[in-house]
Point group: C2
Chain length 185, copies 2
């Protein structure tokens, strides 16, 4: 049997709905929610006058109570048995984010062994077969196949295969396994 | 000019004298320091009756006040300009260790950009040209050249080029650069 392929999975925007929390912060500051149109191709904190919202990531607790992206737990649990799944998340800029993210994973993804958690700055140092990430810059430096997880801010990026939700991720890896089996047969 | 080679540098036992702190804990529990002989090929917490000492790594603050290994700051500063230096440290098992290690690096190695800090569990996921580590298991899974940083507990390991201190690391990379220049000429 072949070695299990390695999937590198991002947290913010892929497992965790971090941008929904930024939208709440925007609303608290500006008294309205940004429109869908405004967010196409942009982060919340790239909107006019909203740059300070990015600093929320330095707050203790910011990353602790974020909502899970629908389907992430179920599909990750399936993938975890069939692939070498690693969580690779950018954390180094925000010293409180480590513990928050660690506890968040422990709460929502208890089946993930701590050995498979990587908190880094630049993701170029990690290698694998597949990377699921909402940031083109991370996929661009990756040695394997990149899957761009859909987000409003990456709406105009066309260089990578886009997955719109976790059901699509499941389907893609199901057909990947079928192809692999067909090639072995 | 070629791309800068990447050096992956471990923290505990390489930059930070973590095992000295375990020895202090041993002395506090057993009323004596372990002998040099006892520690050859063994961690402090592998000594008889001392397994609990390993749990100190779960304590908040344990990794914050560790002494710097002599020469590490000076040589790392030199290497940092000539190589793509990454700190890659095992932290995932100990949720408080992240912030302690982050603040420790900020205090003693302020020239290291946070983008170059990786806290992981299993180091097999990181790639590079050189790895400086005191654990054979980490070097064994590495794609590049491993340098085994001398420690009492790795005393009997002979599979890797051993560097006894940071002066030797400096000398090794100086001759590496001279060879690279000679090959380019």
């Amino acid at each position: 049997m072949n070695k299990m392929p390695r999937i590198v999975v991002d947290m913010d925007g892929v497992l965790a709905d971090t941008y929904a929390k930024f939208i709440d912060r925007y609303e608290a500051s500006f008294g309205r929610r940004p429109t869908h149109e405004e967010l196409l191709g942009r982060k919340v904190y790239d909107l006019e006058g909203a740059a300070d919202i990015r600093n929320a990531m330095h707050e203790k607790g910011f990353f602790r109570d974020i909502a899970v992206i629908p389907g992430a737990v179920e599909v990750m649990r399936e993938l975890y048995d069939k692939y070498e799944v690693y969580i690779v998340s950018t954390a180094s800029e925000f010293k409180h984010s480590y513990r928050d993210k660690w506890e968040w994973l422990e709460e929502h993804f208890p089946f993930i062994n701590f050995q498979r958690i990587v908190f880094c700055g630049d993701k170029h140092i990690v290698h694998g077969d597949y990377m699921i990430d909402d940031k083109v810059g991370n996929l661009a430096g990756f040695n394997g196949t990149g899957l761009l997880f859909d987000a409003l801010d990456n709406h105009y990026d066309e260089e990578y295969h886009r997955v719109h939700d976790w059901a699509e991720v499941r389907a893609d890896f199901q057909s990947e396994r079928e192809q692999a089996r067909a090639m072995e047969a």
